[in-house]
């Protein structure tokens, strides 16, 4: 394979300061053509600001933004080949569904017959055929979302930012940029994810990379549930007080008198909490040396009663050391 795929978006040392507040702090990242890329992070982390910088609703304090190699910093949104689907869909209430979808075409002076044809195509694509004459007020929330999507997709510029199922993305073959705080959504749909925290990107990677090898405490915590072990307990287990993480599903709960298999990590504690979740159960175990670990086990054989009875019992936790992940230098 020679060379990486063409670059759809590049953030080049982009910062957005509001007085003292650094909403986006010296951020650089690349998004390749045709991939489904997600900005993931809690509210206030800067992901929405980055989206707005890309769309042109806001200007960076410093740095450049490139779309397909062209520097668009300073270009207003109506000159950028980027389309957004807004959180509240922002459909024009005084226009029909058809006029809404055709809006971008109308602006570009596409003639009427062509517009009508493409609107019909679009409505088919989002599975709402024949609804051109409806008004937004007559639509359900889900339908409005699809109209908003159709309105953006119809322009099929080289760049898209979307909020929708991966299926459509793969079918149409365009680049998607998705913004969310829901890590489960992100893990399900994305080719790659950028995890935002306080105006910076902590880590960029594919879902498995982020989950299996979190680079920092924040990523470990934010993407999935994780256990972070440090201090004397860490020393006992790994020989170093450095913090490391273990995913809850990698840990097994045994009786205290059971013997840990060779080479496995082992530690004792008391079950503090049992949360029965149908398919699996989440245990919070208070360790003998202090601190809690979360363990998740599938309810393969145990009944709910047996499971809940575990509360207060002394147990032994065992897991294979390959699941221990050192975090990056970031905390």
């Amino acid at each position: 394979m020679g060379g990486s795929p063409p670059l759809a978006v590049r953030f080049d040392h982009v910062s957005r300061h509001f007085g003292d507040v650094k909403a986006v702090d010296d951020l650089s990242l690349d998004i390749f053509d045709g991939e489904f890329f997600t900005f993931l992070g809690p509210s206030g982390s800067g992901k929405t600001t980055c989206l707005r910088l890309l769309a042109g609703f806001d200007q960076p304090t410093s740095g450049r933004i490139l779309l397909h190699g062209r520097d668009v910093t300073g270009q207003p949104p109506f000159e950028r080949e980027v389309n957004t689907v807004f959180q509240d869909y922002a459909l024009f209430p005084h226009m029909s569904v058809g006029d809404n979808i055709a809006y971008g075409l109308m602006i570009r002076k596409v003639e009427k017959g062509e517009r009508r044809k493409r609107v019909a195509e679009m409505l088919d694509l989002v599975r709402m055929p024949g609804l051109e004459q409806r008004t937004p007020a007559q639509l359900s929330g889900g339908q409005r979302q699809r109209v908003a999507l159709a309105r953006a997709l119809i322009l099929r510029p080289r760049q898209q930012m979307q909020v929708e199922l991966k299926a459509i993305q793969e079918k149409v073959g365009i680049t998607f940029l998705y913004v969310t705080h829901d890590q489960e959504e992100a893990l399900t749909m994305s080719d790659r994810i950028a995890v935002f925290n306080n105006g910076r990107v902590e880590q960029i990677g594919s879902p498995p990379e982020l989950y299996e090898s979190p680079g920092s405490r924040f990523v470990a915590d934010f993407v999935g549930v994780s256990n972070l072990i440090s201090g004397p307990i860490a020393e006992r287990i790994r020989g170093s007080a450095e913090v490391f993480s273990v995913r809850p599903e990698k840990i097994q709960i045994r009786e205290t008198d059971s013997i840990a298999p060779d080479g496995y990590c082992s530690i004792e504690g008391r079950v503090k909490e049992v949360i029965y979740l149908g398919m699996h159960t989440r245990y919070v175990v208070e360790l003998d040396g202090g601190g809690d670990l979360t363990v998740v086990e599938q309810n393969r054989e145990a009944t709910s009663m047996e499971v809940l009875a575990a509360r207060g019992r002394k147990v032994r936790l065992v897991w294979h050391p390959t699941h221990n992940r050192r975090l990056g230098t970031a905390e």
């Binding site: 200007q59 062209r70 300073g74 270009q75 207003p76 109506f78 000159e79 080949e81 971008g104 075409l105 570009r108 002076k109 596409v110 062509e114 322009l155 099929r156």
Partner: protein, 320 residues
């Protein structure tokens, strides 16, 4: 499927080909402060130059004085005009006007409350719209016409007197008319008559803010009060009224201010004892003493300034 190229392909246009308007639009988009200046400029300049400028100029005028011999304004700062203002006759005028304004305000508040309460608490949506329009209509209807209507009604040969005669209450009316201060030769030339008309014309100005304030009282508060054992009257006194009070204050700003400055009602239904409005008007007529007229208006301005500050602290501006 490959997309057709959109008709206007911005990517391939060089900077020289872009239309002028678009370039201006792009230029302005990146300069929000400039856009703000362009938007805010005209109205701000108008208000400051035309209105604030006039007000300031008026204030300055009140510190000039009129030469009694030439009738010209002497543009020298002095307090002489204010001294001229401070005569028993003028103080009478201020007192008279302020008292009328206060009485009118209280009366409109009392009259407005039942209607406002009904609208906010009991009226269905349709009935509320009907009532709302019923209050708006006289509000926007010609003010002069409404004053004129009462001239008709209050005239000696008019409908009100006719009713009074029919109900054999003539003696009561005569008693009222002989009363000091509020009385007069007839209803249509008396403070009593003026009072009625003032209340009539300003009533909608009081109803609307009070109704708005009452609307904002959440039902859950009233229900909680009842749940805690309060009778309807107690809920009214301890919960509803205090919460509606800012609305009353807001309405009172209008009734007080409008009464303070009015000359139409006093002219139509009054006698030679002037109200502030009449005094100012007459001073710009044949007497033509602008500095004194300016000084006269400073008084209601000052009163309203205090009133507005007080109203602000009582929360009236949130109710507007």
């Amino acid at each position: 499927m490959s997309p057709t190229r959109p008709a206007r392909d911005r990517d391939s246009q060089g900077p020289e080909e872009r239309p002028v308007l678009l370039r201006i639009a792009s230029f302005l988009y990146l300069r929000p402060s400039l856009v703000l200046a362009l938007l805010l400029g005209p109205p701000l300049v108008w208000m400051i130059v035309v209105y604030l400028g006039s007000l300031v100029f008026l204030l300055i005028q009140s510190f000039f004085s009129l030469d009694p011999f030439t009738g010209q304004v002497i543009r020298v700062l002095t307090l002489a005009t204010y001294k001229d203002l401070w005569t028993p006759a003028n103080l009478d005028i201020f007192f008279r006007t302020a008292t009328m304004a206060a009485v009118v305000t209280v009366t409109t508040a009392v009259l407005a409350f039942p209607l406002a309460y009904f609208m906010a608490r009991y009226a269905s949506t349709r009935l509320k719209t009907v009532l709302y329009l019923a209050v708006l209509l006289p509000l926007w209807s010609s003010y002069l016409v409404r004053v004129y209507a009462w001239r008709l009604i209050l005239a000696k040969e008019g409908i009100l007197n006719w009713f009074i005669q029919q109900l054999d209450l003539t003696r009561v009316l005569d008693l009222l008319l002989r009363a000091p201060v509020i009385g007069g030769p007839s209803l249509s030339v008396s403070f009593l008559g003026m009072f009625i008309v003032f209340v009539y014309v300003w009533l909608p100005y009081m109803i609307l803010p009070v109704q708005a304030a009452l609307e904002r009282v959440p039902r859950s508060l009233l229900e909680a009060s009842g749940d805690l054992g309060a009778r309807p009257g107690q809920t009214l006194r301890h919960v509803t009224l205090p919460l509606a009070f800012p609305g009353v204050i807001a309405g009172s700003i209008f009734t007080f201010s409008l009464t303070l400055g009015d000359f139409v009602v006093p002219y139509s239904l009054g006698n030679s004892s002037f109200f502030i409005g009449q005094a100012v008007l007459s001073l710009t007529g044949t007497a033509f003493n602008i500095p004194l007229a300016a000084a006269f208006t400073v008084v209601p301005m000052g009163i309203m300034a205090f009133y507005l500050v007080g109203a602000r602290t009582l929360g009236a501006f949130d109710a507007l």
